[in-house]
């Protein structure tokens, strides 16, 4: 399998290869690489199937094609028909530019790594030091301590990039005076400890552990959003056994149906609270109680 560092070096130094197959759950990094390649070539074409690109490149053109970035997303048909022969055909294809194929499901990763190991790269949760590097490249005006704080309080590259982009609008004086606390207050981030603990407690469906976290809390609203983000993360990692996450070990305690139902219950409680009905503490206790059911019941509207 090709390493992420090698892919990054090739793309970011302006010497991209002809073919990249990016698997894994981390979308922000893939998106950043595609953007980089797009800037390099000046032109990008989104294609539906890998077979279309193969047909395009196999035909002799009177006027040669200009180098361009071709992107194919989630072409299941290509993976299902992948074999030694089709892999060899793709590798020997003369591509005018670069072809990037994007996948995220586990079932695709293993087959792609088997037949196309030299061009397949898994982009899962990226280590914080690399996220810092990417953010520094995208936003050179941000001080190092601000970048470190943003990465420390973000769950992945995508979230860190959004936060860094918003901070980049501040003046230099404001940026240099920012502290960790300022960043936490600005983005409404729960303290690293309590947010992470609560997330793990919800994912583990451990009612006592959840209670012990919220007993220390004075504001409950943000915990309701934490439940939503925990469900989004579970939905990402349940089908993908290679995805790394702080709540990885608890993924087997949930089904996708449970996750969807829990999300719906939480969202509907949020709507009620925003309409002035109920109080956050009671809503939180109700939601945590739902995790104790063997299967989280489906949300039904009260008539």
């Amino acid at each position: 399998m090709k390493s992420l560092q090698q892919v990054g070096t090739e793309i970011l130094t302006g010497h991209p290869g002809k073919l990249y197959i990016l698997t894994g759950t981390e979308y922000g990094i893939k998106s950043a690489y595609i953007k980089s390649l797009h800037e390099h070539y000046g032109d990008m074409k989104e294609m539906t199937k890998v077979a279309d690109v193969i047909s395009l490149m196999s035909v002799k053109h009177i006027v040669p094609l200009l180098p361009c970035l071709y992107v194919v997303r989630y072409d299941d048909e290509f993976v299902s028909t992948l074999s030694e022969i089709t892999a060899s055909k793709l590798l020997s294809l003369k591509i005018a530019g670069t072809l990037v194929c994007i996948y995220s499901e586990t079932k695709h990763s293993s087959k792609l790594e088997k037949f196309l190991p030299d061009v397949t790269t898994s982009v899962d949760a990226v280590a914080p030091q690399f996220i810092c590097k990417y953010i520094k490249r995208d936003h050179p005006e941000l001080p190092d301590h601000v970048i470190s704080s943003v990465v420390k309080f973000s769950t992945d590259y995508g979230q860190a990039e959004i936060r860094a982009s918003s901070l980049a609008l501040l003046s230099s004086e404001e940026l240099y005076s920012l502290t960790d606390k300022d960043i936490v207050d600005l983005f409404g981030v729960l303290s690293d400890t309590s947010d992470s603990r609560f997330k793990q407690a919800v994912a583990s469906r451990n009612f006592q552990a959840c209670l012990s976290v919220i007993e220390e809390a004075s504001q409950f609203d943000s915990y309701i959003y934490t439940i939503l983000s925990t469900m989004i993360e579970l939905e990402k990692i349940i089908p993908n056994k290679y995805a790394s996450s702080v709540i990885r070990e608890f993924a087997s305690r949930w089904t996708l149906r449970d996750v969807a139902n829990m999300f719906e219950h939480t969202f509907q409680e949020l709507i009620q609270l925003r309409s002035g009905v109920g109080d956050p503490q009671s809503s939180l206790l109700y939601l945590l109680g739902l995790t104790q059911f063997q299967s989280v019941p489906e949300w039904e509207k009260n008539t």
Binding site: K35, S104, G158, L228, K236, A260, I271
Partner: protein, 259 residues
């Protein structure tokens, strides 16, 4: 600029300006020009000092405190009171109960049911609807005639419902316009978090206008569930009571798991 959908409101404001009414409540959909009407009211009152604040307690208190030392007349526009906290309404109510002679207040809201009765009873209420297609075209031409000439033939123009939609479309690059066509190929097999990213960002990673995205999906999706969920999403976005990313996640969960 004069707009058809604001004609009745303009007549009403003319009448209120004659009697120098201190408190006006304007109800209308997002991006329909409520704040613009507030500045028009200031013109009719011959007031040049116009300040706009959001429905936030600290901002409002600061503004009201500042009026205590003013001698020149001023108009304060409080935007979207119905989306603010209850405390913001109480702060305004306290000010309206003891109005200052040289201070005029225009409050805007998207849904008058979200405004306390005590404020409604102290204000004259005006309702405006969505801008007409003629209004949007007129606004577009005035804003940027060249961009309007190009963009008004694009399919995105047909989903514009407000002046803010027009602003967004006029500023779109050709790559950003293509993004909307690519929405049709959105793959629901992708994870919720990845789909949230795609729905919230153009291919160049800049943020996409969420309301326009979901209106486009509602108008162009063939699946009735997707259409319904997109409409629900638009309603939730309009209320502005829940974070946009949670609403987008809700839409994606619905499309993936509740069909």
């Amino acid at each position: 600029m004069k707009f058809i959908h604001q004609r009745d409101a303009e007549f009403e404001l003319d009448r209120l300006a004659e009697s120098r009414h201190h408190s006006v409540l304007i109800e209308g959909p997002a991006g329909s020009g409520k704040s613009y009407l507030a500045t028009e009211y200031a013109h009719k009152l011959d007031i040049t000092d116009v300040s706009t604040v959001s429905a936030n307690v600290s901002d409002m208190r600061q503004m009201f405190d500042a009026t205590a030392v003013l001698t020149n007349p001023m108009l304060i526009c409080i935007e979207n009171l119905d989306t603010g906290a209850a405390a913001a309404s109480y702060t305004l109510l306290k000010f309206l109960e003891e109005p200052r002679e040289n201070v005029f207040v225009v409050v805007t809201c998207r849904n008058i049911r979200g405004v306390p009765d005590t404020i409604i009873s102290r204000s004259v209420c005006i309702s405006i609807g969505e801008p007409t297609s003629t209004d949007l075209a007129e606004y577009g031409k005035q804003k940027d005639a060249d961009a309007f000439a190009v963009k008004s033939t694009n399919s995105m123009w047909s989903i514009c419902r407000s002046f803010s939609d027009v602003d967004a479309v006029l500023q779109m690059t050709s790559a950003q316009l293509e993004y909307f066509s690519d929405l049709k190929a959105l793959n629901l097999k992708d994870s919720v978090s990845n789909l949230m990213w795609k729905l919230g960002h153009y291919s160049d990673n800049s943020e996409s206008p969420t309301s326009l995205v979901f209106r486009y999906i509602h108008e162009n999706a063939s699946d009735m569930y997707v259409k319904r969920y997109a409409l629900q999403c638009l309603s939730e976005l309009d209320s502005s009571r829940i974070a946009a990313h949670a609403i987008i996640a809700h839409f994606v969960f619905n499309c993936k798991y509740r069909r």
